[in-house]
């Protein structure tokens, strides 16, 4: 697989064209993240269960390059998949996932994302070889982290 094809894997192209989890509800708490160098933006919401201890789903809206949009879509899709399997994330679990994601993306290709844990989102591993695009892939995850931090106070 060429470098370019590892960056734009079919899963990423598909998610950027048909994104998952798009749509925000009136009045829900969101985090807006903007990459001023390229204009990519993501507004994201974490939707908690009644007890407020697990994430049922993630909603978002945004505009930008296919990497930033696919990454948001893949995060929302992963949250849904885990919730449907009865493994909805706690705040700690999501934070651990974000940390692992960040570490892999900053590894310049040394540490790929674990497919067991990240599912389709593991396709974003290829981004880590393109330093200039890491920020695009991080945007939605940074928005999620911002919401977790606000919640923790």
């Amino acid at each position: 697989m060429s470098g370019l094809e590892s960056l734009y894997q079919q899963i990423i192209v598909d998610h950027s064209k048909h994104p998952h989890g798009v749509g925000l509800q009136q009045g829900e708490e969101t985090s807006h993240q903007l990459n001023p160098t390229c204009g990519d933006e993501i507004t994201l919401a974490l939707r908690w269960n009644e007890n407020g201890d697990r994430i049922e789903s993630i909603g978002w809206e945004g505009a930008g390059c296919s990497i930033s949009q696919a990454s948001a879509s893949l995060l929302a899709s992963l949250a849904d998949d885990d919730a449907e399997a009865g493994n909805a994330w706690t705040a700690e679990q999501l934070q651990a996932l974000i940390d692992e994601f960040r570490e892999a993306l900053r590894s310049r290709g040394a540490t790929p994302l674990d497919e067991e844990r990240f599912g389709d989102a593991a396709a974003l591993s290829g981004v880590s070889k393109f330093v200039a695009r890491v920020k695009c892939a991080m945007l939605a995850w940074v928005a999620a982290e911002d919401l977790l931090q606000r919640r923790a106070g």
Binding site: S2, G3, L4, L7, Y8, V13, K17, T37, C38, G39, D40, A63, G64, C65, S66, I67, F130, R133, C136
Partner: protein, 183 residues
């Protein structure tokens, strides 16, 4: 570079203060050297001055008319080649001409974000600028969020222009967009 009449320049106060720009300084008043020294306090920009002289020599050797003619020919082919591609929109309708379009073309690849399009060209060794090029209002006017800017110069060969056009033509296909769906 600042170019002006001596009496006007000498009437202007310095915009920076520093060594080698004054004649006499008292507690009441400072007297500055005539231009250009009054505007060049501190360590002179030696490297920049040498580079400027080199640049002038380069342009003089080739001849500014020849540079213009070469860039003109390159731009003609670049713009017409890009305009003929389906799904590719060349921004602006100025003709390639003196006083018109210079040797560059900003394009929008329909359905593909400029940063993704630029990445495909980069992979083929073609360097372009992507983004809004410090011209957000203009992009809004064209209904585009960002564009891809291909710039040519006196070094650009006809073969390179063909390669660039071909590479741009392949961008939409790389992202699985068919030309039937082109705008």
């Amino acid at each position: 570079m600042l170019y002006g009449r001596a009496e006007v320049l000498d009437a202007l106060p310095p915009h920076l203060y520093g060594g080698s720009a004054i004649t006499t300084v008292t507690l009441e008043k400072a007297h500055f050297l005539p231009a250009p020294q009054r505007f060049e306090p501190g360590t002179p920009r030696v490297a920049q001055a040498i580079a400027l002289a080199e640049a002038v020599r380069f342009v003089s050797e080739i001849g500014i008319d020849r540079i213009a003619a070469t860039e003109h020919a390159v731009a003609e082919r670049l713009v017409s080649g890009l305009k003929a591609l389906p799904g590719i929109r060349v921004l602006g309708d100025a003709a390639v001409a003196p006083g018109g379009r210079v040797a560059l073309a900003s394009v929008v690849v329909e359905g593909v974000h400029a940063h993704d399009a630029g990445q495909v060209l980069d992979d083929q060794g073609i360097a372009v600028r992507v983004g809004h090029h410090c011209a957000q209002p203009l992009h809004r006017r064209f209904g585009a969020t960002a564009s891809l800017r291909l710039s040519a110069g006196v070094h650009t060969t006809a073969e390179e222009v063909e390669r660039a056009i071909e590479a741009v033509a392949g961008i939409r296909a790389f992202f699985g967009l068919t030309e039937e769906g082109a705008a």
